[in-house]
């Protein structure tokens, strides 16, 4: 069928264009392997030296009925020779494995953009399932696009027919055929994916061979295909020198904790209950038992945090991971860790709420729950990661703050950065800041559990097994010195105040907020957590267009950086952008009187796009 010796690209004129960035979305059924295909493409791009940002977008059904509109799973990647901070707004290339995938994703394609379709999947049954009255490949509805029609299923089947594989395995290789076509289109080497497949299917050499053959066949097929009139070159990006790897946010979070435990010289303990989209942190940490990491899959969310509190009482760096519904269940226990003044990190990988909400989609609507979702006066430190890669830094930072300030810390990430991936400049543990935990050494003879140091108002941590320091702590209000039960009115007020002051004083130990781009001017754009990439890209564009716009992205939320109140007067307008109905802005309005905060909000389960932000900002100026 294909013989690249006979057919090379000399048969027709093909243009090879140099471009700065490209955005590709792979979409198919949730069983079509689109996540793997997209990940392979992104990793290859990163290894080549491009800057990369990805966005997996999949349904909450594991294997939805084939061909259905709601079962479509997608993976979007932007890669470039310039800085890339978002997965991109508009697609240059849409790879659609069936009619449902085309129908649900065509809106995102640029006019004049390219579509690769598997024509075999555009049969009567699939067209009906996708509610197409006519086959879009046969009418003129796709006239504004460049459509590359390939009989992907049939070609894959034909090319693998001699391997002696079952039909199902052959059919499942069609994603790799498609990947081969896209590799050709963007002048990519097959090397990384081939070695990946050899590793992944080490014990199934036939499957490895089939997948590799499918990629190669797809590549050569694209090379001979006259429809592919253009190919593209995206040069490596200029990035800071160093050793990199591509990380997903959730993995980076897990690694940040591992680094913190090693730095602090403590055992890492994770007590957790599976919940989307946080479970990958558990999946990653269970692999690393050889570091002495202890993970415990509990019977429910409450037992997850309870076990972490127990491990913390016993002297471990203790973590619990969850998403919004789980944070609600953990509320009472967070209060216990707060009043007991034990170090604990609670990770909330936010998803669309309320209730079960949109489990696989992103949102930032747990901020007020993290701030106020407990009984009594119960302040905790809250920080948020803002990119897949800096999930590492903020997991490390959450651990540092918990251990050095003897308090629970809630680390907020979200589905978008947790599942997204990006290049991470690897940090060696030796280059990370010191973590000084408060464990009382053996040999100490006097210990009063709630005596505090004057600088931080932090108590010391005497752990079971230390002779002579036996003491009791608990959830009842405790005496300000001994920690014994004391429900006296003045003692209680004193303790409420000092616990609040202790968290407030963390301000002295965290960095100031820095504004990027215009340091004064027409508009200050404020965001927090995972919206960094799109806001950054939009504000950059605004400045390129000549507007004076600054951008402040908050990673420290409780307490806020000390200089927060100084930012606002330098701009004519201030807008707070959030993927909720206005939560940080509510806090700002009560904290910073006299400043008029505008707000821009979105709750669609999707991240902001650069263009919607830019349009909105233009309207404000």
């Amino acid at each position: 069928m294909i013989s690249n010796e006979d057919n090379n690209n000399q048969h027709f004129a093909r243009e090879n264009h140099k471009i700065d960035t490209a955005v590709i979305r792979f979409v198919g059924d949730s069983g079509d392997g689109m996540q793997l295909t997209g990940t392979q493409f992104s990793d290859t791009a990163a290894l080549f030296g491009n800057d990369v940002a990805t966005f997996p977008n999949y349904p909450s059904e594991i294997r939805a009925p084939q061909g259905s509109l709601y079962g479509v799973s997608g993976f979007q990647v932007q890669f470039g020779s310039v800085e890339v901070t978002t997965p991109g707004d508009e697609l240059d290339l849409l790879v659609a494995m069936n009619p449902a995938a085309l129908k649900t994703n065509l809106f995102a394609l640029k006019p004049g953009g390219t579509i690769i379709v598997d024509t075999d999947a555009f049969n009567k049954k699939n067209l009906e399932k996708a509610k197409y009255e006519n086959n879009p490949l046969e009418d003129d509805s796709l006239n504004n696009y460049r459509v590359i029609k390939a009989d992907i299923s049939a070609l894959t089947k034909e090319s693998l027919k001699d391997l002696g594989l079952d039909t199902k395995s052959i059919a499942r290789s069609k994603n790799m055929f498609t990947l081969g076509m896209v590799y050709f289109m963007y002048n990519r080497s097959l090397e990384h994916s081939e070695s990946f497949l050899n590793k992944k299917f080490k014990n199934k050499p036939l499957i490895a061979e089939a997948n590799i053959k499918a990629i190669r066949t797809g590549f050569y097929y694209a090379e001979t295909l006259e429809l592919m009139s253009s190919t593209y070159i995206v040069e490596p990006a200029k990035m800071e020198a160093g050793t990199y790897r591509v990380v997903m946010g959730n993995d980076a979070t897990a690694w940040g904790f591992m680094a913190a435990a090693e730095k602090a010289g403590l055992e890492l303990f994770l007590g957790s209950y599976p919940i989307t989209p946080a479970t990958d942190i558990l999946h990653e940490l269970v692999k690393h038992r050889h570091f002495g990491i202890k993970t415990f899959q509990a019977e429910d969310e409450i037992a997850g945090i309870a076990s972490a509190i127990g491990a913390s009482f016993a002297g471990s760096l203790a973590i619990t991971t969850t998403s919004g519904p789980g944070l609600a269940l953990k509320g009472e226990a967070i209060g216990l860790a707060m009043i007991a003044e034990l170090p604990l990190v609670i990770v909330d990988v936010q998803r669309g709420g309320p209730s079960t909400g949109l489990p696989t989609k992103t949102e930032q609507s747990d901020l007020l729950q993290a701030m106020y979702g407990r009984n009594g006066e119960s302040p905790v430190i809250i920080i948020a990661a803002s990119t897949p890669a800096n999930c590492f830094e903020y997991a490390f930072e959450a651990s540092r703050l918990a251990l050095e300030h003897m308090t629970p810390v809630i680390l907020l990430t979200d589905g978008f950065i947790a599942n997204g991936s990006a290049p991470w400049k690897i940090k060696s543990v030796k280059d990370l800041p010191e973590i000084k935990h408060r464990i009382v050494p053996n040999g100490t003879t006097e210990y009063l559990a709630y005596v505090r140091d004057e600088e931080r108002l932090v108590r010391d941590w005497a752990i079971p097994g230390t002779p002579g320091l036996e003491h009791r702590i608990g959830g009842l209000e405790k005496d300000k010195v001994s920690g014994c039960v004391n429900q006296g009115p003045e003692n209680h007020e004193y303790m409420c105040n000092i616990r609040a002051e202790k968290v407030k004083r963390v301000q002295e130990f965290i960095p100031k907020i820095e504004v990027e781009f215009a340091q004064e001017g027409d508009l200050l754009v404020i965001g927090w957590g995972g919206t960094f990439g799109n806001i950054h890209a939009s504000v950059k564009e605004m400045n390129d267009l000549g507007y004076k716009v600054g951008h402040a992205q908050f990673n420290y939320i409780n307490p806020l950086p000390k200089n927060t109140g100084e930012l606002f007067s330098k701009y004519k307008k201030v807008v707070v952008c959030e993927l909720n109905l206005g939560q940080l802005v509510k806090m700002f309005r009560s904290e910073f009187k006299g400043v008029e905060f505008l707000q821009y909000n979105k709750v669609q389960g999707l991240p902001f796009t650069k263009s919607e932000l830019t349009n909105h900002f233009k309207g404000l100026i």
Partner: protein, 335 residues
């Protein structure tokens, strides 16, 4: 955990004033525990008491050991974390019928299922004491309480039956008015490797006074209680003339010397029998009430399995530091 210092019960009494109601069985349990601890061969600093909420959950404050008075029903979770973090500790969960089988029911059964080497002392008084007298999951049908003034309509759990259903390997039922028996049971529980559950039949003098009197009253108990001991025949009664036999699929009370029954006809208690069927039948027996160590079956603990797996993975892993992991595999250099 081995210890050479000889402690007395006073070493385990904290300086806190005990605040249970006068006449409460909890005082008996406290003293029995303080007396048991010096005989367990533990170092004082290795002992941790963890509790939830309820009258019994105040227990840790009165012990001069490490202690954590936590939140309602969650002591098993906290204890699990403590034990996994430091398996050298002797970890005790002090709980009640409400704390363990209502609000914390899920954690309670999973702790028993996993079989960590943790001791649970469950004070069962068939009532909510600290909230002043509502029915609990062990209150009897018809029992009049503040929240069931016309009589309770919910069927009760039998603690032992629930526990064995959750795979409990060690179960003892001990009257709350017998300090010596309690002390012995605590020592046995500590020496048993695995989760031990001791149900204390605890009288609440205020809200459920006399709930176990028909079994525990000094004049009645010999006829009303069958105290089982591993390897001994199930004989009871003031005159030691009553015993238990298996008749078909039911236990039956017989009198030795009547109808051809001799001492050798009486069942011999085997606490170490893997099959829980007979243990369950003993637990369900209403009269006489079976007390003592009913089940004691060894099985590898959860934390030992965890440790073995860690040792195995450590022995084959080439990675020793986090840096090794970060810099291994798919990395690339930017110059």
């Amino acid at each position: 955990m081995e210890n050479n210092v000889k402690y007395t019960f006073k070493d385990f009494a904290s300086d806190q004033e005990v605040r249970w109601c006068p006449g409460c069985d909890d005082y008996v349990v406290l003293r029995a525990m303080q007396k048991a601890l010096p005989d367990m061969g533990l170092k004082k600093e290795d002992v941790v008491f963890i509790s939830g909420i309820g009258c019994s959950s105040r227990f840790p404050y009165y012990m001069d050991s490490y202690g954590f008075h936590s939140i309602h029903g969650r002591a098993p979770g906290i204890a699990t974390g403590v034990k996994l973090a430091n398996p050298n500790l002797s970890v005790w969960v002090m709980t009640g019928d409400g704390d363990a089988t209502a609000i914390g029911g899920n954690h309670f059964i999973h702790l028993l299922r996993r079989n960590l080497d943790i001791n649970i002392v469950l004070f069962n008084n068939e009532i909510y004491g600290l909230t002043k007298g509502q029915f609990s999951p062990t209150s009897l049908v018809g029992q009049k309480t503040k929240s069931s003034p016309y009589g309770n309509t919910q069927s009760p759990f039998i603690i032992g039956e629930l526990a064995l259903g959750a795979k409990a390997r060690f179960f003892a039922r001990i009257p709350g008015n017998e300090p010596k028996t309690l002390t012995d049971a605590f020592i046995q529980a500590e020496s048993f490797k695995g989760t031990s559950l001791i149900e204390v039949l605890q009288n609440c003098v205020i809200f459920n006074d006399g709930c176990f009197t028909k079994y525990t009253d000094k004049d009645l108990r010999d006829d009303a209680q069958l105290v089982v001991e591993h390897g001994k025949p199930m004989i009871f009664g003031k005159n030691k003339d009553k015993g238990i036999v298996l008749n078909g699929l039911k236990l039956e009370v017989v009198t030795i010397g009547e109808g051809g029954i001799t001492e050798s006809s009486i069942l011999v208690h085997n606490a170490e029998e893997q099959d829980p069927t007979l243990h369950q039948m003993l637990i369900r027996l209403e009269y006489p009430l079976v007390t003592g160590v009913i089940r004691k079956v060894s099985e590898e603990t959860f934390e030992d399995r965890e440790q073995q797996l860690t040792n195995k993975i450590k022995s084959i892993s080439k990675v020793t530091s986090v840096d090794d992991l970060f810099f291994a595999g798919e990395t690339y250099d930017v110059k």
